[in-house]
């Protein structure tokens, strides 16, 4: 019963985002929405990473650092070494995961506001590194990054060369949404497997978890690596779309936004960051009309939401079916 409903839900979601949305965009001629929705998809992947660290009880305001790192890894590999973008995508994620293991080993011992502060600094460190390192081309950044090439297996074209497309935006949209669906499906499985329960045990009481034999240090690092992998993935894909990257491509503001997306969507549910990103991104754009009051209204609404819906937007829906 529950299973069929889940499958049905996923099917409807896929139909809407993969067919419904492009059809609507073409029909209304609002082609700019492709770019906006692609951004939402990619930012929600990075936010999902932040959500994983929340899941083990850590406030992470450093996802911008890994998004930036992933972006640069991909850009450098594509521009300087001529590697296919599609190959650099997982490489960027894995690079970030490896880096996060090194960074995480010492800092994951910290809890609460102390961990949050260190991660906040991390974003700034990443920006300064990007400015200083010779390979990143400093403040000038990297521009005119070639569009992703095609993928074909045994002569069968799976993805066309993006440079040959008249308008690569729909293609980027579809790829990004597919990537998002994959990431969230993987995360859903994680949360609903025993690993999810173990993460929850860390979140609720690390001492007790350790007393029942859970290697808390190991699990924390794994969770943080997954988090950073998603950050790197999102960052790399973003760079491919904008065809450029600068040290200021992902800043502290982005890191804070990634965290806010999770808060807003709901920390208790895997799809929280997806909803959160969508609402936050469109909410901000929607308030554009209000001119100088944009930030004021936006932040007031956010504060109100956090006060009245401390468990996020998804708690609205879950209210009725908690007993299931």
């Amino acid at each position: 019963m529950k299973r069929t409903r889940n499958i049905l839900g996923v099917a409807v979601f896929l139909l809407v985002v993969l067919i419904g949305v492009p059809w609507l965009i073409e029909a209304t001629g609002r082609l700019d929405l492709y770019y906006t929705l692609t951004s939402v998809a990619l930012l929600s992947i990075a936010s999902a990473g932040v959500w994983v660290t929340f899941y083990i009880g850590r406030i992470n305001i450093g996802q911008g650092a890994f998004a930036l790192m992933g972006g640069y890894v991909s850009a450098i590999l594509v521009v300087q070494y001529g590697v296919s973008f599609w190959l650099t995508l997982p490489v960027a994620g894995l690079f970030c995961a490896a880096a996060s293991v090194l960074i995480g080993l010492p800092i994951l011992r910290l809890r609460g506001v102390y961990f949050a502060m260190v991660t906040l600094v991390l974003t700034e460190v990443a920006r300064l590194l990007a400015l200083a390192l010779p390979i990143t081309n400093g403040a000038k950044g990297m521009v005119s990054i070639p569009l992703p090439g095609g993928i074909s297996i045994f002569g069968l074209t799976i993805l066309p060369d993006f440079a040959t497309l008249a308008n690569p935006r729909p293609a980027f949209y579809l790829v990004s949404v597919a990537l998002m669906v994959l990431c969230f499906a993987a995360l859903y499985r994680l949360v609903h497997s025993r690993i999810g329960k173990l993460c929850q045990s860390l979140q609720q009481n690390e001492e007790l978890a350790s007393s029942i034999g859970v290697n808390i240090a190991y699990l924390r690092v794994i969770a943080y690596a997954i988090s950073s992998f998603l950050g790197g993935l999102g960052g790399a894909m973003f760079v491919a779309i904008s065809q450029s990257i600068y040290p200021s491509s992902f800043t502290v503001t982005d890191s804070v936004n990634f965290m806010l997306n999770c808060f807003l969507g709901g920390l208790g549910h895997v799809f929280g960051p997806m909803i959160g990103t969508f609402v936050l991104y469109f909410g901000w754009d929607f308030l554009f009309e209000t001119g100088e009051f944009q930030l004021l209204i936006f932040s007031s609404v956010l504060i109100a939401l956090m006060l009245f819906l401390p468990n996020g937007l998804l708690s609205l829906r879950l209210f009725g079916k908690k007993q299931g």
Binding site: R189, L190, S193, R194, I195, K197, L198, Q200, S201, Q204, N205, E207, L208, S210, S211, I212, G213, V214, N215, I216, A217, I222
Partner: protein, 259 residues
């Protein structure tokens, strides 16, 4: 009976304070041994030293002849020495059953990746954990609370849940931190029965406790600490007649003497 756990000349200093001073004793297989002492005697510190949540300044703790002091708590737990907590330390947001299931961690044959992919081993593990958790829950009379969120349980049930979590790890030695603290008479009687039941399952029990009548009633042997030093060791009867013990307890007016 073989000596399962040996505490050898263990000392713990916090700066200038010597919390535990050169304490030695052994826990025999399948016995219930209690460590008692007035407030500030170093019981809790000793408890953390044995479960390896603290490392001794000098001396060592041996389990089955192997040194366990200095190892990470989860490794000590893996070897079979598992602690419960003094406060109502449980996974508050989970149901009683999930609390006990998650505590089966050490018994898993599947790897984390296996659990992610849902391999046969992982699924067999999950089924076994569920079955075993239900058995432990029934054993500790928590059946009616099985699906309740742990944070909503009353005090006595929380203590039982703490012990259930400990049992789920399949320990050789279970260390209980003040299992009778804050309980009224009836609850204590039930808890004493519970601890006896734990021993009947073949588990050796070491408990740190305040409640004198309960300790006298339940223990095979008792170790008494005062100001970090062991002042007596013996059967409940021997301890009751020990002058040093009587003196230590009369000196501390806010203690329940109980005998």
């Amino acid at each position: 009976m073989t000596e399962l756990l040996q505490i050898k000349a263990v000392t713990k200093r916090f700066g200038g304070l010597v919390a535990v001073n050169n304490v030695s004793f052994a826990v025999r297989e399948r016995e219930i041994l209690s460590v008692i002492g007035p407030n500030g005697a170093g019981k809790s510190t000793l408890f953390k030293l044995i479960s390896s949540f603290l490392s001794p300044t000098s001396g060592e703790v041996l389990f089955g002849g192997q040194r366990i002091s200095g190892l990470a708590p989860h490794i000590v737990a893996r070897k079979g020495v598992v602690r419960t907590f003094q406060e109502t330390t449980i996974f508050k947001g989970m149901t009683v059953r999930d609390n006990v299931i998650i505590a089966h961690h050490l018994r898993s044959n599947a790897t984390l990746a296996g659990f992610y992919l849902g391999t046969t081993t992982a699924r067999r593990d999950e089924a076994e954990f569920g079955r075993s958790a239900d058995e432990i829950i029934d054993f500790l009379d928590l059946g009616a609370q099985r699906h309740e969120i742990a944070s909503t349980l009353p005090h006595g049930h929380l203590r039982a849940l703490g012990i259930a979590i400990g049992l789920a790890t399949n320990p050789t030695v279970l260390l209980l931190d003040e299992p009778f603290a804050g309980m009224n008479h009836d609850e204590t009687v039930r808890a004493v029965k519970m601890v006896r039941g734990v021993r009947k399952r073949g588990v050796t029990v070491l408990l740190v406790e305040h409640d004198m009548p309960a300790v006298m009633n339940i223990s095979d042997r008792i170790v008494v600490l005062n100001f970090g030093v062991k002042i007596a060791e013996g059967t409940p009867k021997e301890i009751q007649e020990n002058e040093k013990v009587i003196e230590a307890y009369l000196g501390a007016e806010d203690e329940t003497i109980g005998f």
